[in-house]
Symmetry: C2
Subunit: 168 residues, 2 copies
């Protein structure tokens, strides 16, 4: 027996985006309770040359919508990257999830050998679908979700591993 | 077409452990160049109640060897968790990789419906193999590798996303 490209991608991304959304809900409540300007958390970063919380969430979203679209061979939805509040980040996550949920398993299953091209500033990256998913999308996606979590933990938000992993 | 449980697990974990090893090699060289006591980096954490770099590496290793063993239905190798230097962490990563590489695809393929039980302090967690891999192992594994990276970035190590993702 085997597993399908859909099973290994869309439901996993949707689930983790839900966990990220719940963490951001706690972060917004924490900012309000502690009278922290939300901007302080949204702009927080772990090193001067690392990306802010806002960018981590935007890129997690990019990674997820890019994966769904490229594996299904449809256009990648473009967002403006202009989110400036927790509510706007929540809206971005919600539209990313809605897009992923609009993809049917049969659009994605069988994409393991599909050619995937990622535009970059230098030359485009070329992958087969399986390598793209397991060696590019998932590491990148988890990198940004984990870093968002770590930025908030470093800034005093009381969350734990179960917030990251979500309910089973 | 479909993908196999082996393809989605062992080579992915081995590859990322190699990237983690290369990052730790850079961290050890950085400590030496800057005359930082290695202990300072090994004990570093992003919040007082988060785990240290050493523990992040140990748990990434645990997550990887647990995955390989449970999917292959063999005993999980036990390590003593007594690493106290970069060299000892490298040795732990090396033995984790050697264990994973000892597993044959045919031991793991077909494990998507295998029952997997994880002992915890409370009641054991029960999974089917596929859910265990995509919703437990991979998020946990990437969580700890990313947090190790983030601890080192926060402490001034000059590494970038390509160190995390590794060569293609």
């Amino acid at each position: 027996m085997t597993i399908s490209m859909y099973q290994a991608s869309v439901p996993v991304l949707v689930r983790m985006l839900g966990n990220l959304s719940a963490i951001l809900t706690k972060a917004a409540a924490y900012a309000e309770a502690k009278k922290i300007e939300p901007r302080v958390l949204l702009d927080a970063r772990l090193a001067p040359d690392m990306l802010s919380l806002t960018r981590q969430v935007q890129i997690a979203s990019d990674s997820a919508k890019g994966c769904g679209a490229r594996l299904a061979a449809v256009d990648v939805p473009k967002y403006e990257d202009n989110e400036a509040s927790f509510d706007e980040l929540q809206a971005r996550i919600a539209k990313t999830v809605a897009f992923l949920n609009s993809l049917r398993p049969e659009q994605i299953d069988g994409s393991e050998d599909r050619d995937v091209t990622i535009p970059t500033r230098d030359q485009p990256l070329q992958f087969k679908g399986l390598v793209y998913l397991v060696n590019f999308v998932l590491p990148n996606f988890y990198f940004h979700v984990t870093t968002a979590y770590a930025i908030l933990r470093h800034n005093g938000l009381e969350i734990g591993k179960l917030d990251f992993l979500g309910a089973r």
